[in-house]
């Protein structure tokens, strides 16, 4: 039973537009959420995180929104760039372990 779900396997966006990646979770006890980006043949790269006591965190072009009542978080990338094309993983911190979703492949076309 997946505790962290990314229901969209892929997303295609034009350069300059907004990319919105979604993530749902089932365990209300998670207290920290993270987003990672992964290029082929590389390890995941940390992007941005959010504590469960907040509803928004922003870092440059990346903003993460958390809706605890819906157990939903989203990553917004504005503006999207071709270099953002990668697999994006949502993860929840349970103790010291990260529980990952299956990832969403983002393709940004120029």
């Amino acid at each position: 039973d997946q505790q962290v779900k990314q229901n969209s396997p892929s997303l295609s966006v034009q350069e300059g537009r907004i990319s919105i990646l979604n993530c749902d979770y089932t365990n209300s006890m998670f207290d920290y959420f993270l987003w990672y980006k992964k290029y082929p043949a590389e390890g995941p790269t940390f992007l941005i995180s959010i504590s469960s006591i907040k509803d928004k965190n922003e870092d440059g072009r990346f903003t993460v929104f958390l809706n605890k009542s819906a157990k939903h978080l989203s990553l917004h990338i504005v503006p999207s760039q071709p270099g953002d094309s990668a697999v994006y993983f949502c993860a929840a911190l349970a103790g010291t372990a990260l529980i990952f979703g299956k990832g969403t492949t983002l393709s940004v076309s120029s």
Binding site: Q2, V4, Y32, L34, Y36, A41, E42, G43, P44, T45, F46, S49, S51, F89, A91, L93, T96, A97, L98, I99, F100, G101, K102, G103
Partner: protein, 115 residues
């Protein structure tokens, strides 16, 4: 953030053999983590390695199959024993950021193919 290296970067092994994967960090860390990503799947935590104590394994993973060593605060190894094709995965080590107790940073991974 910590710089993490892994060896080998990839390998092709025959079933029934074992492979030891090394993880080196450029700073001293208390905990090191080993994850696995099977094809088309999410990353799954195998075990947590603390220096000076036995590794802690997650449900579904056992020490006989995935023995771990943690001889010092910058190094760990994961062995995949008696391999089968189902062990074909990317194996990654990670550590917590030195400035945050929530953010984990990952090594480049070891891509293992078992034939």
């Amino acid at each position: 953030s910590a710089v993490i290296s892994q060896k080998p970067s990839r390998d092709i092994c025959q079933r029934g053999t074992s492979l030891t994967i090394q993880c080196q960090v450029d700073s001293q860390v208390t905990m090191m983590f080993w994850y696995r990503q099977q094809p088309g799947q999410s990353l799954t935590l195998i075990a947590t390695a603390n220096q000076g104590s036995e590794a802690t394994y997650e449900s579904g993973f056992v020490i006989d199959k995935f023995p771990i060593s943690r001889p010092n605060l910058t190094f760990s190894t994961l062995t995949v024993s008696n391999m089968s094709p189902e062990d074909s995965s990317i194996y990654l080590c990670s550590v917590f950021s030195d400035t945050s107790s929530y953010e984990q940073y990952f090594g480049p991974g070891t891509r293992l193919t078992v034939t």
